[in-house]
């Protein structure tokens, strides 16, 4: 039986990546195919409905998959994740010459974030900031950058716009992934010496390969075995691993999503049954 996986086409390279992986998996005796989605919501719905066997999910898609599965009496679990999906952090950045010295100073200030559905540039860092305040409502003004809505922050454009808003003075602080801070430092989005790190979240996990309990067992096991066997020393597979941004696939784990679960609950992004309850979200 062909194992059918969903992936979201957040970038043209997704076609190269999964076409390449498909050829490699097929050469290794796994009948495998994939379906591309324009956004994560439909992918997750199709996964839990059994139209897919596996889905390459964002952390927010994983969060919804669990909620939908629970309400439908199904089970989902993370088969594998990239080494680069583990122990990420988000940071809150301010201008170097800013008078803001601690998160408490953000009261009544403007904080630039990414897209409404970005775990790393919106949901997790805002939840973290909320957790630092004693009062429930610190009255922070949020400046959102809804680039690639439905892609759960995979499109870096929202984070880049948040960074630019900080530099141009439209915002007093900006939230982003630690790797985006490094990227913007190196590509000149942040001029040298222009910003500093105000706060950093605890580590969390990012994407995972979610499988649903209606998936055929043997192909799913073979899929994990083959992914875990992909070696960076293999010149056939290395360009694909580079494109997908990993060095090795690791066993999936569920321990790194607590911050996002809290953020989704606090912001009412999804209800407990996986319904979309956040406002202004049109993937």
């Amino acid at each position: 039986m062909t194992l059918l996986m969903g992936a979201v086409a957040y970038d043209p390279k997704v076609v190269s990546i999964w076409t390449g992986f498909r050829s490699w998996l097929t050469r290794h005796q796994l009948s495998f195919d994939f379906v591309l989605y324009s956004n994560y919501e439909r992918q997750v719905e199709d996964l839990v409905a059994g139209r897919l066997h596996a889905a390459w999910n964002s952390p927010l898609a994983w969060e919804r998959a669990q909620r939908l599965a629970r309400s439908e009496g199904r089970r989902v679990w993370p088969l594998v994740m990239r080494d680069t999906d583990q122990d990420l952090t988000s940071v809150v950045i301010v201008r170097a010459d800013s008078s803001i010295e601690s998160p408490a100073d953000l009261a009544d200030r403007t904080v630039a974030v990414g897209a409404v559905d970005s775990p790393q540039a919106t949901l997790i860092p805002l939840s973290y900031l909320r957790s630092l305040f004693i009062t429930a409502d610190p009255d922070i003004k949020i400046l959102r950058h809804d680039i690639g809505v439905g892609l759960h922050g995979d499109h870096v454009g929202g984070e880049r716009d948040a960074a630019r808003a900080l530099i141009t003075g439209q915002a007093d602080a900006a939230c982003m992934l630690d790797a985006s801070h490094l990227l913007f430092t190196n590509d000149g989005t942040f001029p040298p010496g222009s910003v500093r790190v105000l706060a950093q979240t605890p580590p969390y996990d990012h994407c995972n390969m979610t499988v649903v309990d209606t998936a055929p067992r043997e192909p799913a096991l073979r899929f994990v075995e083959l992914l875990r066997g992909m070696s960076y020393a293999d010149p056939d597979i290395r360009p694909l691993l580079d494109l997908e941004g990993l060095r090795t696939w690791r066993p999936g784990r569920t321990t790194g999503y607590a911050q996002l679960t809290a953020a989704v609950d606090e912001g009412g992004f999804y209800d407990l049954a996986g319904g979309i309850t956040v406002q202004d979200y049109w993937p």
């Binding site: 122990d87 990420l88 992934l177 630690d178 430092t185 190196n186 020393a233 010149p235 056939d236 060095r247």
Partner: protein
């Protein structure tokens, strides 16, 4: 475990200022699993270090911030960097003396002798065998060619006043028009082969590139001489252009090199010597002389390359013969050399339209054709053709000279 872990002090350097360069160097000295203590005062150091290491397969642990702890993070070296070089190989030796007979296509554009990562595209070099493209003389000829480059702006006495009788000037213009047409073919032909030859045979590529650049300069100076007194160029015959077209349509490198360099440019050596001798002005003489020096080099490579090949491949001479015959057949119904060019050469050698001078000019052009013929025979004999066959083939060469 062995001795104390290595440490790296980045001082105040952050990732915007090259911290990653120092890190790569330090980690490059470690085996996978070994640890590197990182010190530094950049406030964003641990944020950026964690992101940088994550993307490269290294693990980072940040100790609790004890005030007396100078190490801000411990990096455990991952194996991705060493994995990348599994199966890497040297693309032969750097020098030209130990060339591979058939370098693999995947060496591609890598510098000869470079350590190349496994994988990458198999580049489409159909001229990938030493015996098909190489000549031991190539490095020396390239060095000579590079040293002998002249500047068209200063190498020719453009400032000299040239005032010739109108009909002599017009003969010069006609010859220059013809030369430009031929040099354009001589530029395009090596350029077409450049992209097909495996870069492992670098000196051959360099030589062909300089050859094309030589022709570019020839086109420039011949055009400039043609337009010295006016902007009206001479004629271009259909037969002449067809002759050059048959040269360009030859897909085989050796055969094309044979037709162009050995026979065509070889004949041009005589033509340019003729122009040097009978040039009515110093500008014409200089451009002919400069071009002749370059063409002699092109001929030398063509002959050396084919000598080398001929020694390796006894069937080569049969193919060379067939190429000459094939081209002859294709051109048999054409008019040959543009009559305007022929007449212009006669006039240049005559120096005037006096009947006796024209007779002497005609004799000089017949001698030129004889010189070309003899030169071709000599080169064909060098390639191993028996004298009678060389004579026969020389006679079949295009009447258009090139």
């Amino acid at each position: 475990m062995s001795g104390p872990a290595a440490t790296l002090d980045l001082e105040a350097i952050g990732f915007a200022e090259g911290a990653h360069v120092l890190l790569r160097r330090a980690l490059g000295h470690l085996r996978p699993g070994a640890r590197l203590g990182v010190r530094g005062t950049d406030p964003a150091l641990t944020v950026d270090l964690a992101a940088w290491c994550r993307a490269r397969g290294h693990r980072v642990d940040c100790p609790d911030s004890a005030p007396d702890e100078p190490v801000r993070a411990w990096v455990t070296c991952g194996h991705a960097e060493s994995d990348r070089w599994v199966g890497a190989e040297r693309a032969g030796n750097a020098g030209p003396t130990q060339l591979a007979d058939a370098p693999p296509a995947h060496w591609g554009l890598a510098a000869r002798g470079a350590l190349i990562e496994a994988g990458g595209p198999g580049a489409p070099y159909d001229l990938g065998q030493k015996e098909r493209v190489w000549a031991d003389i190539a490095p020396m000829l390239y060095a000579q060619a590079a040293a002998a480059q002249w500047d068209p702006a200063t190498a020719v006495p453009w400032g000299t006043e040239v005032e010739l009788p109108a009909e002599i000037e017009s003969a010069v213009v006609q010859v220059m028009t013809y030369l430009v047409e031929n040099e354009q073919a001589a530029l395009v032909l090596p350029a077409r082969f450049l992209a097909r030859i495996h870069p492992h045979f670098r000196e051959v590529l360099q030589l062909l590139a300089v050859q094309a650049a030589d022709e570019a300069r020839h086109i420039e100076v011949f055009t400039r001489r043609a337009t010295l007194a006016g902007n009206m160029l001479g004629t271009s015959s259909a037969g002449g252009r067809l002759s050059l077209f048959t040269l360009l349509s030859e897909p085989d490198f050796s055969l094309a090199s044979f037709l162009l360099s050995v026979l065509g440019e070889g004949s041009f050596l005589s033509l340019l010597a003729f122009l040097d001798r009978y040039a009515p002005d110093p500008v014409t003489r200089t451009v002919a002389r400069l071009a002749r020096h370059d063409e002699a080099r092109h001929v030398a490579f063509g002959v050396a390359h084919l000598e080398h090949q001929s020694a390796m491949d006894p069937g080569l001479r049969g193919r060379l013969r067939a190429a000459v015959e094939h081209r002859h057949d294709a051109l048999v119904a054409t008019a040959g050399l543009n009559e305007d060019v022929f007449d212009a050469l006669v006039v240049l050698a005559a120096g005037s339209w006096e009947p006796r001078a024209i007779a002497a000019g005609s004799q000089a052009v017949r001698q030129l054709e004889e010189d070309m013929y003899v030169g071709r025979v000599r080169r064909l004999v060098r390639l191993g053709f028996p004298a009678d066959e060389a004579a026969e083939l020389s006679a079949l060469h295009t009447r258009n000279f090139m």
